[in-house]
């Protein structure tokens, strides 16, 4: 049984090794097929493990492969834990992953670096599985870093464009900020509990249903737990793109669209939610952190939702909507509605993957004309203002988009409705969070409607749109499967059966959430009204179609993503720049070269400020040494008893 546990990780890794070393010889088709096959095999094994978990007594499979690190007190086993939570996520990762692999065969066809792309995808699946399957925080961190690396590689996949390389770097750096929090949290966990294994830690924290703290009597314990959870949450902020660290996700759309679908919509970004739900025993007893988490989540949902209202890039809308939906999940986790959070994570994986793949199909279709005619005049194939009327030309894509969109908008009976409703019900006892989430729900329906109308209805607004063509079978098939999932995914936790709730009970405990008919009716109605409003406003295809729009101040504010990037530039990067150029002027009378921008200037500033200290003169070096000697001796004379 335990050997079965490594197979889901092993299969994609085999794909990585074979494709990395033999990829050139095998050719693009074989590479794609092999990668897809490996991911599907992992899915099959995940299914088997899932069934084993469901019949096993303790609803979990432990598998240990000896000690990984054993130094002094630190003893970390190379152990995996497949329980109800991780097995559910494994199904999503491998299942949605396999579909996206399949889709990619069609999408990436003809790219000279296709082999590398599939290596990255396989590596990503393996890393994500390590993240959710590890039985301790260190292994989770390893997976955490690996998925970060894959994401970095995929965002910068088309690195020939400067913009993409910059986006990759931005993602990397912002994520590292979160990682600092995460690793500090892990260290604090180790110092507090003396172990990093989930099982032992949660046993110490105690039965989370009664919130009895095993550390009771130790007055610092609650404060320490708050610190731990807060640090962990900083990690989640980075990976799951929450305020204030969400800025990297919209830029991350620079990568290939299927990769965006897999990583930046369906799976990787949910790592933060998984981590919080996995640590629910800790978060449950740290009430102040949980409240903070809920508030940050709701604020993120609201801000990102409002930004999505005024975007023109088809992928940017979806990107901000992802941030917004992640905010929903984080808020649910902060409210203690862990099941609802995971439920939304799963339905979101279905419909957001579907939306991204459909968007990819649209972009693909739009590029058809300029590719076929070598048209010199390049228009942006991702700009919704160039689209319109694609309904008839791309029927499968259209219906897929409709199903995904209505699910996102939260219209019954689509899957998104059920999961979002559970979160909103859970927020009823927290008025501020509830208000923010309610507004966001309306925003969501509205921008979804706007997107649907701008892309598929009306008449074509460019030659590319009027000559668009439907994509091939490899791309259509995943769309169809995902459409079905997005349609019926709500069945996972329908009122009445509450299957997921019972399934996750061993991990997150009982939570009396549920269905609230008035709320459900109210939000269905609100969504319908918002969709209708979008239809009325954008039906004629006149609004928002100018490529050089005169935006009102509010619109411009939203379009520029609340000016947050500019804010960071003004609040953090520019003062650094000012300081460094000031230092540069002080230290180097010759003055520095003209300003470039951002970090480049910052580094240059530091360089100009510090480098003269390393003057090249031996005697100055000796002088610095003597300064050190005198300071050291003075310190010793003063501090020695």
């Amino acid at each position: 049984m335990s050997t079965l546990v490594v197979l889901p990780i092993l299969f994609p890794l085999i794909g990585v090794v074979i494709n990395a070393f033999l990829g050139k010889r095998l050719g693009e088709k074989v590479v794609g097929a092999l990668a897809t096959l490996m991911c599907s095999a992992a899915f099959v094994v995940a299914l088997m493990l899932f069934s084993q978990v469901s019949v096993s007594k303790e609803h979990a499979i432990h598998a240990e492969f000896g000690t990984w690190i054993g130094v002094g007190k630190l003893n970390v086993p190379f152990g995996f834990l497949v329980d109800s939570l991780s097995s559910a996520l494994m199904l999503i990762i491998t299942g949605v992953g396999a579909l996206i692999h399949l889709y990619s065969i069609g999408y990436i066809h003809g790219d000279p670096r296709a082999n590398r792309y599939f290596v990255y995808l396989n590596l990503f699946v393996a890393s994500m599985l390590v993240l959710v399957m590890g039985s301790n925080y260190l292994l989770m961190f390893v997976g955490w870093e690996l998925v970060g690396l894959c994401s970095y590689l995929l965002i910068g996949f088309w690195f020939d464009k400067v913009k993409n390389a910059e986006a990759a770097r931005k993602a990397f750096v912002v994520n590292r900020i979160g990682d600092v929090g995460f690793i500090l949290g892990i260290m604090l966990i180790f110092v507090t509990f003396g172990t990093l294994n989930y099982h032992d830690i949660f046993a110490v924290v105690g039965d989370h249903k009664t919130a009895a703290l095993a550390l009771a009597g130790d007055p610092v314990a609650p404060a320490v737990l708050s610190a731990i959870t807060l640090l962990l949450f900083i990690g989640a902020m980075g990976k799951s793109a929450q305020l204030p660290l969400f800025v990297w996700l919209p830029d991350a759309m620079a990568g290939p669209t299927p990769a965006s679908a897999l990583i930046h919509a369906a799976t990787m970004v949910t790592a933060g939610i998984y981590m919080i739900v996995r640590s629910n025993a800790l978060f449950h007893v740290a009430a102040d952190t949980s409240n903070f988490v809920a508030l940050i989540g709701a604020l993120t949902a609201f801000i990102a939702g409002s930004i999505a209202l005024r975007q023109f890039d088809i992928k940017k809308v979806l990107a901000y909507s992802t941030v917004s939906q992640l905010g929903f999940m984080i808020a649910a986790a902060g409210l203690g509605a862990y099941t609802a959070s995971i439920f939304h994570l799963m339905t979101h994986a279905f419909f957001k993957a579907l939306l991204f793949l459909a968007a990819g199909s649209v972009i693909h279709g739009m590029e058809h004309y300029s590719h076929a005619h070598h048209s010199a005049q390049h228009i942006d194939p991702q700009d919704m203002r160039n689209m319109g009327g694609l309904r008839g030309k791309m029927p499968v894509t259209f219906w897929a988009f409709i199903i995904g969109g209505l699910s996102l908008a939260g219209l019954p009976p689509f899957s998104g409705f059920w999961s979002k409703d559970e979160i909103i019900v859970a927020a009823l006892h927290n008025p501020l969070v509830f208000a923010l989430l309610a507004c966001t729900a309306v925003f969501t329906a509205f921008y979804t409607g706007r997107q649907l109308v701008m892309v598929f209805f009306g008449s074509a607004r460019s030659k590319d749109a009027s000559h668009a063509e439907e994509s091939g079978m490899a791309m259509k098939l995943p769309l169809i499967v995902l459409s079905v999932l997005a349609l019926i995914g709500g069945g996972l936790n329908l009122p009445g059966s509450m299957w997921l709730e019972h399934w996750l009970e061993p991990v997150v405990g009982v939570h009396e959430g549920g269905f609230n008919l008035p709320i459900a009716a109210l939000f269905s109605a609100l969504a319908l009204v918002a969709l209708a409003a979008a239809w009325v406003m954008y039906r004629d295809g006149k609004r928002d179609t100018s490529l050089t729009p005169q935006l009102s101040s509010v619109s411009s504010f939203l379009n520029k993503a609340w000016q947050i990037d500019a804010l960071y530039r003004a609040a953090i990067i520019m003062p650094f720049y000012a300081l460094s150029s000031f230092l540069a002027r002080v230290f180097d009378l010759g003055g520095i070269d003209g300003a470039v921008n951002g970090i480049g200037t910052l580094t240059k500033g530091i360089a100009a400020a510090l480098r003269p200290l390393q003057s090249g003169f031996v005697r100055s070096y000796g002088l610095v040494m003597i300064v050190g000697v005198v300071a050291l001796m003075a310190w010793l004379v003063i501090n020695t008893r």
């Binding site: 130094v71 690996l146 970090i599 390393q614 050291l632 001796m633 010793l636 501090n639």
Partner: protein
């Protein structure tokens, strides 16, 4: 006889080097590679001897020899192994680099062997006399090796700077030893330790140890005694730089471990806090200066300073000295593997271009020209950055862990933050290698091959980096 067995690894190196000096006379100038291979053969012998020391002393006893001048324990044997491996790695690089740069001379290998012997002796030191003699034994050949590429001015300048400042630092070291002797009446580290444990740590001893810290801090490039490092590493031939970043650092830290962590220093609070402050300064300034560099070689020099800071944090962690010493030695091994991999790439680049220009533009588009080199470099940089799954992460984790368990939370935090900062400059190189194209370089230039011995070395080093990252227990079990 047993005395000789205890220092068999350095003994083999010293005797072999002396014999090699004579053999060298009989070898023609165009066949000096033979000397390199013989030197490697000698180091393999020393390696086997060190493994035997480890094997026959499985209980990890501390065995003294030569009237308590030297000792042999696990750390000594492990460091012997590290030094021998570094030597072999560097010699593999020299086969092409030294030939291209016309420094393929027999004396190069003899002097390097002398230096390695001194470093091994340092690992075995049990007496301040041994520390002093071993320190000079490995330093004096290094002064010469830095200048071996004369009349190239960079090389000469680096040699003179290293020499003058090194002699200056030696002055402090000797004066410090004199004061320590004056305070205790002995030069034996164990005897001093006993006195200090009895609570006799007069100010004279503390100041003496402080001056010794200056001398050793100079060797390991601790701020503010680091000023020589970037200039010397930059100007010296790349193979020599590779040797210095790895081996000199390890030798310096071997002495610091003996005197400060396992010796009397750990019992003096003011010294420990002073080391912690030095560690902090070293991390901050090493990383800040590295940010500003345009030359990869110089950047790695500053990065090596930064790593000295992380290591010093281990020296300052005195709550559990066994654990800290393990962490320091482990880190030295991982850093040696990582740094050798990186400098392997640098030396190959230097051979391809036939110069010592290591500006970033030399690395632009490397992934296209030499994918193997680019991947090795990327792996090494990730390890230096401290990315999980690489040796660098495990090493840093152990060091910061011991810092935290010694109550130096602030230092561990600073280490983590400066590691994040370091991602900026390491990543810049990776971006240049993988995400930029260089139009100016003709890809079909026949010089752009990678020499077989270097490739072997880089492959082994990369495997070590990954293996120590995935399964650190492999090495750590040897400590237990």
């Amino acid at each position: 006889m047993q005395d000789l067995m205890l220092i068999l690894p350095p003994l083999i190196v010293f005797l072999g080097a002396t014999a090699l000096l004579l053999v060298d006379l009989k070898i023609a100038d165009d066949r000096k590679e033979t000397v390199a291979w013989i030197a490697m053969f000698l180091l393999v012998g020393a390696l086997i001897a060190a493994v035997m020391l480890l094997y026959f002393n499985r209980t990890g006893d501390v065995l003294y020899g030569f009237s308590n001048m030297i000792l042999t324990d696990r750390y000594a044997a492990l460091l012997d192994i590290v030094f021998a491996l570094i030597g072999i790695g560097v010699f593999l690089l020299t086969l092409r680099y030294n030939r291209v740069h016309q420094i393929m001379r027999g004396e190069f290998f003899v002097l390097t062997l002398f230096s390695i012997g001194g470093m091994m002796l340092m690992a075995h030191a049990a007496n301040l006399v041994t520390i002093f003699v071993a320190l000079e034994m490995f330093s004096i050949p290094l002064y010469v090796l830095c200048g071996v590429a004369r009349p190239r001015l960079d090389s000469e300048e680096s040699s003179l700077k290293y020499f003058l400042l090194g002699a200056f630092a030696s002055g402090f070291l000797v004066y410090g030893i004199a004061l320590m002797y004056g305070a205790t009446g002995t030069l034996d580290i164990a005897t001093m330790l006993k006195q200090v444990e009895r609570g006799q740590a007069p100010l004279l001893l503390v100041i003496g140890a402080g001056l010794m810290l200056v001398g050793l801090g100079f060797k390991v490039a601790a701020v503010p005694f680091h000023m020589w490092t970037p200039d010397v590493y930059d100007g010296a031939p790349t193979t020599v730089t590779a040797f210095m970043t790895t081996a000199t650092k390890a030798a310096g830290f071997a002495a610091l471990v003996r005197v400060f962590l396992l010796g009397p220093g750990a019992f003096v609070g003011s010294l420990v806090s002073a080391i912690a402050i030095l560690a902090a300064l070293t991390m901050i300034f090493g990383n800040l200066f590295a940010l500003a560099q345009r030359s990869v070689k110089r950047m790695l020099a500053y990065s090596s300073i930064a790593h000295a800071g992380y290591l010093l944090a281990g020296i300052a962690s005195v709550a559990n000295i066994g654990q800290s010493a393990n962490a320091v030695i482990f880190y030295l091994a991982t850093y040696a593997a990582t740094s050798l991999a990186a400098f392997g790439v640098l030396s190959e680049i230097g051979s391809m271009n036939r110069d010592e220009d290591h500006g970033l533009e030399r690395y632009t588009g490397l992934a296209k020209r030499n994918p193997a080199l680019a991947w090795v470099m990327a792996l090494a940089l990730f390890s230096l950055m401290g990315m999980p799954l690489t040796a660098g992460f495990t090493g840093k984790y152990l060091l910061f862990q011991s810092a935290v368990s010694s109550g130096l939370n602030w230092l561990a935090l600073l280490g983590v933050i400066t590691s994040v900062i370091s991602a900026f400059y390491y990543l810049r190189v990776i971006v240049h290698m993988f995400m930029k194209e260089d139009a100016t370089v003709a890809a079909n230039n026949e010089q752009y091959y990678v020499s077989k011995p270097s490739l072997v070395m880089m492959t082994l080093a990369s495997v070590a980096v990954v293996a120590l990252g995935l399964l650190p227990t492999l090495l750590l079990n040897m400590f237990a």
